[in-house]
């Protein structure tokens, strides 16, 4: 059993390798196709031909494309993601500070989203076709129909500007707090480790509005999937049996139906997670959130090759890892599912 499992894991990882290589190639080609000449851009105001040429060779942009790609690959192999020209830091250190910010926001918003969407989905599934069902459907669909940047701006306007309830939208922490020591990079966890509850509350406050913005956007897939999965679970034989055995409705719902409906919901959650991480781009811009999404936008706008490549690679690795974890969880939960399908 165990060696078997290890083998399948190994196989799955091996399958991911061409994808990662593909991502590296595509991101390399994509960045080189970006308009603009980074050398000109970064030579600065008042630079002349000679200084632009100097910058170009300093950036290695005077070499042929295959040569540049080879340099990129060898650098990657030694763990060097290059230097971001727009932030002036190494891409690896930029990602290390910014990824936790994005992940923290994404995870909090997913927790929020789940805590609303799953009960809603269950509620809708227990009363299919009723007004409650339709209302749930309309509500969650409305949430996913709003562009996130618009929701974000409106929330800031109402809760910060008009009502003054929300803290100033200044990123992860208001300037009156001091960021906690970096342990995980998640402020909530780091502040808790340091026992600094003032900072903890401060960073939670900053999270509320952007998390709501993202959560609104992710309600729909989760609620719909919960509803569908619950419906099929409720119409199954074992639920009928359980009901016939006289178990309470509560017990039937929570123990029999929901447990079985959980699997597809978890899969959806995985998809939503990676999707949300990508959707962060716009929300981060609105809330001045120092995450990797806003980083990628800035880098793309100034044709900052190394930063764009580093970002894409990090996201792809995350995506591949996530899928792997989901697949494995799946097989652990439900041994009937194998890997033969692909």
């Amino acid at each position: 059993m165990l060696p078997d499992r290890l083998l399948t894991i190994g196989l799955r990882v091996a399958q991911a390798l061409p994808v990662i290589f593909g991502v590296i190639v595509v991101s390399f080609i994509l960045t080189r196709a970006l308009p603009g000449d980074p050398a000109v851009y970064f030579a600065g105001a008042a630079a002349d031909e000679a200084s632009i040429a100097e910058v170009r060779s300093a950036l290695g942009l005077d070499k042929s494309l295959p040569a540049q790609f080879w340099i990129y690959l060898t650098d990657l192999a030694s763990g060097d993601l290059g230097q971001s020209i727009s932030t002036g830091q190494s891409v690896a250190s930029d990602l290390a500070t910014r990824l936790p910010a994005s992940l923290e926001l994404t995870l909090i918003s997913l927790v929020l989203s789940c805590s609303i969407a799953i009960p809603l989905g269950i509620l809708a599934a227990t009363r299919p076709g009723s007004a409650v069902d339709h209302l749930c459907r309309v509500l969650v669909t409305a949430g996913v129909s709003l562009p996130t940047f618009f929701t974000g701006v409106v929330l800031i306007y109402v809760f910060y500007y008009l009502l003054g309830i929300a803290p100033s939208p200044l990123g992860r922490l208001d300037f009156v707090y001091i960021e906690p020591d970096q342990v995980t990079g998640f402020y909530l966890i780091d502040a808790a480790i340091a026992g600094d509850w003032e900072t903890w509350t401060g960073s939670l406050k900053q999270l509320v509005l952007p998390a709501i913005t993202l959560a609104l956007f992710t309600l729909a897939p989760l609620a719909r999937m919960t509803r569908a999965a619950m419906l099929s679970a409720l119409s199954s034989d074992y639920v009928r049996t359980a009901r016939a055995a006289g178990l309470t409705e509560e017990k039937v719902l929570s123990t029999y139906a929901f447990r079985n409906a959980l699997l597809p919901v978890v899969t959806t959650l995985g998809m939503v997670f990676s999707f949300t991480l990508g959707a962060n781009v716009l929300v981060e811009k609105v809330f001045a959130w120092p995450g990797i999404g806003s980083y990628a936008v800035e880098a793309l706008v100034v044709s900052d090759y190394a930063a764009v490549q580093g970002f894409v690679l990090a996201m792809a690795l995350l995506f591949v890892a996530l899928n792997l974890v989901i697949d494995l969880t799946y097989t652990m939960i439900d041994p009937r599912i194998g890997f033969q399908t692909k």
């Binding site: 970006l34 308009p35 603009g36 000449d37 980074p38 000109v40 851009y41 970064f42 030579a43 600065g44 105001a45 008042a46 630079a47 002349d48 000679a50 200084s51 632009i52 100097e54 910058v55 300093a58 020209i85 727009s86 932030t87 002036g88 830091q89 250190s93 930029d94 290390a96 500070t97 910014r98 701006v153 800031i156 910060y160 500007y161 003054g164 100033s168 939208p169 200044l170 990123g171 300037f175 009156v176 707090y177 001091i178 960021e179 020591d181 970096q182 990079g185 340091a194 600094d196 003032e198 900072t199 811009k285 609105v286 001045a288 120092p290 806003s294 800035e298 706008v301 100034v302 044709s303």
Partner: protein, 540 residues
């Protein structure tokens, strides 16, 4: 990491460890930014380096050179008509140097350094530091070298450390630009002992070290820097080059969304919003508690540039026709919300003085524009792309849309082309391949000849119109280094202005303004480099 250093703002993976100072710091500052001697400012841009000499350092980063480093000399301060403060181009003041004098033949300047001058690490400022810093600026290439060259500071051999406190610059030519060019951010004085200790064989100028760790003598130290988030300045209590600043700490937060910046200032959560959009400046200036300083940017004009490399624009009359077709007032009100100074509607075709920029002798006159087009043989009009930069769309887009509408009225079909920010410089300035576009050059050194040098000479960077005029070439070369007092100077400049008015390779739209909103803070001073100088700020 222990608790003391934790509270010093210096930790965190991305926060570059700045070992210079570990400051005791309250865990939580007073809840309101309005109290204490801390100023909180917001800006939309990222500071990407602490070293202005580095390749790739962006404009917003220049302020670190201003606040954290000193120069030999600085400019004075004057009060403008509206009560706001501005640097004074006509007064050069001591900074690290306490005095200076020109050699008898005028071909050298000798500076005496302050004997009490100290870097932030406590070591004395010596002439050797000045020489090393200047050598660096002229050697590393790129922007700093070009800027030094503008002041005829070109080779390390020009700089001489005579003794510890005497520094001499041997001049290549007599130029009025040399002394002012020493007061721009670039020739900052670096602690060469610290820098050299961190230099390597491949990196003799310690570019990597100074990029993240300043080694200056300025009024402020960098207490924390997280690119993309914030920069925190901490006062240097032992500053030797000027009076001690009134505020202890300045927190500069990066907030990309202009709407958010406005909300923050309006609600009083920050003390300062730097480089506000014109619309916000206009509307917030009426509010209680908020002061908006709107300073026209010296030696700068927003222009519409017809490119002479393209057929219709080779004809002067076509360019004039366009100059008569621009709806100047609508553009100024819609794109600039009336902030800045009009640059149209001049009365005479010849200038009466040498002030620059001054109103061009054009105003909206569609009949005249049509007649000129007819005369040039383009009565049926033509098609042309009108290019704007995506990253400056806030003013370029409304401007272009209004110009597009009026051009249509005289038969010219303009299609608006948004060029991505990364490509804008390449397309407009380096390759100079945009047929009709908007352009924004402003010169740091406030002389008309300096503007002409960059914007009207063939092949020069900001001459995106590919303009060439023999007389302008000759007159600019003659006037560039000439003293303003020279009796020949004014007539020559007037002639230059007259020519470019007539030939209009650059159609002036308006002189832009820099808007800075403050709340409970005074002492903001406008500088030509358009970056925040925090040294004079005071809490109200």
């Amino acid at each position: 990491m222990n608790d003391t250093s934790r509270r010093s703002f210096l930790k965190g993976a991305g926060a570059t460890a700045l070992g210079a100072s570990v400051l005791p710091f309250l865990k939580v500052l007073p809840a309101s930014a309005a109290s204490g001697d801390v100023v909180v400012a917001v800006t939309g841009q990222t500071i990407n380096s602490l070293d202005i000499h580095r390749t790739g350092t962006n404009r917003p980063s220049y302020q670190v050179a201003v606040n954290v480093y000193d120069r030999l000399v600085s400019f004075g301060t004057k009060t403008l008509a509206d009560g706001s403060l501005s640097y004074d181009y006509s007064v050069i003041e001591p900074e690290v140097a306490e005095s200076w004098e020109f050699a008898d033949d005028g071909m050298a300047i000798v500076f005496k350094l302050r004997p009490e001058g100290k870097f932030q690490d406590g070591s004395p400022i010596t002439a050797a530091d000045v020489k090393w810093s200047f050598d660096r600026a002229v050697s590393v290439g790129g922007f700093p070298t070009v800027q030094m060259k503008a002041g005829s500071l070109e080779k390390p051999e020009q700089f001489e450390a005579v003794d510890d406190l005497t520094f001499k610059i041997n001049l290549l030519r007599k130029s009025k630009l040399t002394l002012p060019d020493l007061a721009v951010p670039v020739p900052m004085i670096i602690n060469s002992k610290v820098a050299l200790a961190n230099a390597t064989e491949e990196d003799p100028w310690a570019m990597e070290y100074l990029h993240k760790t300043p080694a200056g003598s300025g009024a402020f130290k960098v207490a924390a820097w997280k690119p993309g988030e914030q920069l925190v300045y901490e006062r240097n209590d032992d500053w030797t080059s000027g009076p001690l600043p009134a505020v202890k700490r300045v927190v500069l937060r990066e907030v990309p969304s202009p709407a958010t910046r406005r909300a923050l200032l309006e609600r009083g959560d920050v003390n300062m919003s730097f480089n506000m959009p014109n619309k916000d400046a206009k509307e917030l200036s009426d509010l209680d508690g908020i002061t908006v300083a709107t300073t026209p940017i010296e030696n700068s004009i927003y222009c519409l540039c017809p490119n002479l490399a393209f057929e219709p624009f080779k004809d002067k009359r076509v360019r004039q026709a366009i100059a008569f077709a621009v709806p100047y007032d609508e553009v100024f009100q819609t794109a600039a919300y009336g902030r800045g100074a009009p640059m149209w509607g001049g009365e005479n075709a010849t200038p009466t003085d040498i002030s620059w920029p001054q109103k061009f002798p054009y105003s909206t006159d569609l009949e005249k524009a049509k007649a000129l087009l007819e005369e040039a043989g383009y009565g049926d009009g033509f098609e042309v792309p009108l290019s704007i930069s995506q990253s400056q769309a806030d003013w370029m887009e409304p401007t272009a849309l209004l110009i597009q509408e009026n051009l249509a009225k005289i038969g010219i079909t303009a299609t608006i082309e948004k060029v991505p920010g990364a490509n804008w410089r390449t397309a407009s300035l380096v390759e100079k391949r945009l047929p009709l576009h908007l352009e924004t050059f402003g010169g740091w050194l406030n002389y008309p000849c300096y503007y002409f040098f960059w914007a009207y000479l063939e092949g020069h960077l900001f001459n995106s119109s590919n303009y060439r005029n023999e007389e302008i070439e000759a007159l600019t070369a003659e006037t560039l280094h000439m003293s303003v007092e020279d009796p020949d100077y004014a007539p020559k400049i007037k002639r230059m202005i007259e020519i470019v008015w007539d030939e209009v390779p650059r159609i002036a739209l308006w002189q832009p303004a820099l808007n800075v909103g403050t709340h409970d803070v005074s002492g903001y001073e406008y500088w030509f480099h358009r970056q925040l100088d925090v040294r004079g700020l005071k809490k109200a």
